[in-house]
């Protein structure tokens, strides 16, 4: 449990740090009355136009899906990479097939222009 306790302490510290920074800036800053302009979401200094709750382009979804495929790939790659020294050429070949199958997906997405942003 002691390893997890270290992670727990680290987690608490990382959560406390931004809270402390924001609390400090709240304590020391001047507090004028809020106006409508001040409550606007910050979008690169430009005022937002129209509703912000809109439908998104399908390209976001395709990017997310390609990301998901490789994210799941990482799950299988991680134990293989961690134990690489103890595994033989057979495991290497198996993983090569695995990665090349995923790469076919990336190649197809590329070919079909799913990664283009216009």
């Amino acid at each position: 449990m002691s390893d997890y306790a270290t992670i727990g302490v680290f987690l608490l510290l990382t959560m406390a740090f931004p809270i402390a920074a924001m609390a400090a800036s709240w304590m020391f800053r001047p507090k004028p009355k809020s106006s409508e302009d001040k409550m606007l979401p910050y979008e690169c200094g430009v005022d937002t136009k129209g509703k912000t709750w809109i439908r998104f382009r399908v390209s976001y979804f395709l990017y997310a899906l390609v990301f998901l495929a490789f994210d799941v790939g990482v799950v299988f790659l991680f134990p293989w990479a961690a134990k690489f020294k103890f595994l033989g050429i057979y495991a290497f070949a198996a993983m090569l097939i695995f990665i090349s199958l995923l790469l076919i997906g990336l190649w197809y997405a590329w070919k079909e222009g799913a990664l283009e942003w216009y």
Binding site: F61, F67, K83, A109
Partner: protein, 171 residues
């Protein structure tokens, strides 16, 4: 009744997971529900960590809280075209409510039944030390074909989604 530190961690994490899961169902705005789902996934990952299944916990955070949730949020953003405050209201349709109730009873029954009829041994020996090595050995040994099939499944998912999206854009 003695409560050890591990028990306390489990109780806190289980409570957190249940509360956030309830939030998924009860929030009126479906985007808030999706965010609650992320917290619920993180709670489950915490429970894996308390069970000393560190790798599984990491996978839970990486895949479920990281990728699946992004996919769900994008899917919501793709189809949402109404007032966000009313996207996750309980259905007014009576057959829908009845179907939901039936499914809930079925699931709870199956869960309670399977817990009730399983004989839990008093003490299970933990996997000795090298959990990752054991996993790797199985993954690249006995289960190498399912591993390649998983890659094939991911490939089919990517290609299928691209075909669907392209078709929608050409129309």
């Amino acid at each position: 009744m003695d409560i050890s530190l591990a028990d306390l961690a489990f109780i806190i994490l289980a409570g957190f997971t249940l509360l956030t899961a309830l939030g998924v169902v009860l929030f009126k705005n479906i985007v808030h529900s999706a965010i609650m789902l992320v917290f619920s996934f993180l709670g489950v990952a915490g429970i894996y960590f308390t069970m000393h299944a560190g790798f599984l916990g990491l996978v839970q955070i990486l895949v479920y809280a990281g990728a699946i949730s992004v996919l769900i949020i994008f899917a919501i953003m793709l189809v949402m075209n109404q007032d966000p405050e009313k996207t996750n209201l309980p259905s007014p349709n009576i057959p829908n409510i009845m179907a939901g109730t039936y499914l809930t009873i079925l699931l709870v029954g199956a869960l309670v039944g399977s817990i009730w009829f399983t004989s839990f041994p008093e003490k299970v020996a933990p996997v000795s030390g090298d959990e990752l090595g054991l996993l790797t050995g199985l993954m690249l040994g006995d289960y190498v074909i399912p591993l390649e099939l998983a890659a094939l499944l991911l490939l089919v998912a990517v290609v299928g989604a691209i075909i669907l999206a392209r078709g929608a854009e050409h129309k």
